[in-house]
Symmetry: D2
């Protein structure tokens, strides 16, 4: 039987501002990357989201980002390594303590947005993240882009790395994600999304924008919760998984 994890960014609402559709998404996922209050999220939404994750028995990961609410953490920022390290340690500590106070546990860390993209290609950022996370809790797993430099660096340092692939993002021939600033970077057709996910799970490959076939091994599939069609995507995947005998299960 083939098992796969489905993860989604959660808890990114801020104050009166709602983003994503967490309540509708929780029943479909097995891992939730919960925002830590820097790129999105705030203390009360963090608590609510952790409680929802507990209720739905969904695994929890810390989802730290750049300190940039206005840019939702999607703008590259030039933080010196010691500031970046401190910012990540602060965020992971905050959610770790809050989760433990509610009887939950943080299992992994997945960087958000521009920090995620930098970690995939920038050795200094990758190393800084690894150090920050280790200093807070050496038992935490790290989630990042399958096939990235980040995966290599974690392997070199004996960190349990969870490789993920994207359901609704177009890949480029070099294995990176097509930038959101370009057209057709986000897949919207349900069949296209479903086929990409099945290709990743069953054939361990993905077809890039220019039709190149890229080998890809992923333990988790990322769904974007701020995509208005997120629930439809999850429904479509559920049906496809049932037909193919694929089971959703958290990674360990």
């Amino acid at each position: 039987m083939i098992a796969i994890d489905i993860n989604c960014d959660m808890g990114e609402s801020f104050g009166n501002y709602q983003i994503g559709n967490d309540q509708a998404i929780f029943p479909y996922i097995t891992s939730s990357n919960i925002a830590c209050g820097f790129h999105g999220g705030d203390p009360i939404h963090m608590e609510r989201t952790i409680k929802q994750a507990l209720l739905h028995q969904v695994q929890i990961g810390a989802h730290p980002g750049f300190p940039d609410l206005a840019g939702f953490g999607r703008r590259k920022m030039d933080l010196p390594p010691n500031e970046l390290k401190a910012a990540v340690k602060y965020q992971v500590s905050a959610i770790k303590g809050v989760a433990e106070s509610l009887g939950a546990f943080i299992r992994y860390v997945k960087p958000h947005g521009a920090l995620y993209n930098l970690a995939a290609v920038d050795e200094s950022v990758s190393n800084t993240l690894v150090q920050a996370i280790r200093e807070i809790d050496p038992g935490l797993m790290i989630m990042g882009l399958a096939g990235s430099l980040f995966q290599e660096i974690c392997a070199d340092q004996d960190i349990r790395f969870v490789a993920e692939a994207f359901a609704d993002r177009q890949y480029q021939a070099d294995g990176s994600l097509r930038s959101r600033s370009l057209p057709e970077s986000v897949l919207v057709d349900l069949d296209v999304v479903t086929n990409q996910v099945l290709e990743i799970i069953l054939q361990k490959q993905v077809t890039a924008y220019d039709s190149t076939i890229i080998p890809l091994e992923a333990e988790s599939i990322c769904i974007h919760g701020d995509n208005p069609a997120a629930v439809k995507v999850l429904e479509a995947l559920k049906s496809a998984f049932e037909k193919q005998g694929i089971v959703k299960r958290s990674f360990r």
Copy 2:
């Protein structure tokens, strides 16, 4: 031999903005209330301040405040109890995790500014703070105003409360602090400050603005680090303590 703790708010600088004179003050104090990033402070200053506290063997407390950098946490904010509780839990968790990653430990929590003042008189705020702190770590002590409602509520709930008094703030006849918005609320004359501190330690009382004598039992004396004369105050206290045989020592 009489022993007393000296505490000071530390780590309140933010980004490029420096406030206080932490490096000059650390040698004189026995407890440091370190900002948690909401009313002041940021992750990199938090790390630096914890390292300084370790170096000077100064006890560390979490110093959470309202989420109001522009008002430095000194403006009363109407947060619903569940939001206030979440905000305090987030801040205490953040500094607790960061401190532990550096080999340090948080021993107590002292609320900041308007939150401190509200805790002294508002039952709901007091109870919310107690719950928040207990949920993060029931072993944490709480520091607050000597003789306040906060002290009573902590006593009722079997929380170890550390009563503090102020070196450089004028008291009112009811035992509260004279508001910063009024004239002569902050004591500046070194002799006046020294005499107030000695009166508190040796006679367990303080003389209010209108000359009323107020009984007061304090385990710690608070010095304001953003007072430009802070180091001179600490020097004056050091001399006075030596003459009187008073020893500086952290509370437990």
Copy 3:
């Protein structure tokens, strides 16, 4: 023929966070209160919203609030009068200049949220707002709660005050709005909303929560754009207005 203005808070989205449904609402309203970036809104949403107002020939008002994005300007803040005045002047100047650069004009100022509520009852806040607005442009009208102290103070100072009433908020016997923290403070039934609006326009009165009849003269009716039913409310009012021969028209 009876004419009435319909106003709505607009442009309150921030960065990646969308709030309200501005595009769907613009065709139905005659005045738009555009956020100025403190309680909500940001420069790019401000520009977009001004352009939409121009396109739909909808009158523009500045909508300044407390500097509290996390609380959406709905939490009372104790700003000293000179800071409040400076904050309002800054916000009104910003939107005025941006509007003029796009060929639009700010006609009025309506304070937001907790600032709106304070202005209705607090003489100091009312006066501070009047001074701030006058210093930026003495030709600006002020919009506020019909029958409030703010209306009296503007009358005393010969400021053109536009009295507004609320379509979807329950009134209390003293003419104030029932607090959002209480149940049944927001009207949701379309017939109830429509009847309240017609009662205000045609009978110059409103029926309070306890059935008291309150005399009320309003030149404008406020619709809440963050109410998910806002468009349905506006549709229902459109039909009712047609039946009753009421015309929507901007105040002058």
Copy 4:
């Protein structure tokens, strides 16, 4: 007689956080670049600083920056051109309206920090700034780095550009400033600073870090107010100017 303008960044304090030493610096300068609340400054400090400029008859420029208080506007941010334009228009409008309400006028705009550095080399940023400023007020002058791409672009577009040089920053052979992240980027010796300024004014050149002589024509000399020695630098320049018959005078 040789005349030169001396400019300094002013009004960058935020809430309880003081930066720079504006009161001591105003008597020595002829142009003040006043922060607009994004990288530093806030409404109340903006008002106070404008009043000080009026009192000292010092010319006022808007000093917009990236929306990054934590980084003091010194971190490069990837804002799309329309967002950057909106952010600059918002800031310039805000200070323009506030200044006019106080009987003062904004004469020029000087971008701050990372935005200043980008404008010097990036055509898109330069053009975006020019458009933003023109849309708010085509009569505003622009201040930027002498000899930069920004100067060329302003010349091409018939914008009055005020070329400035730096008193206390080391130049590189290509005419750019040596990065603050490198050693010896900031000049501290008073004689070295004075000689660099005299070289710029009298010989229309500057000697770079590697001893290259760079031709440089500047109408204004920038002093950094957050340099603790700023007043001493200004005193030294005053003496040197008196000896050399150089007069301080605002550009027009």
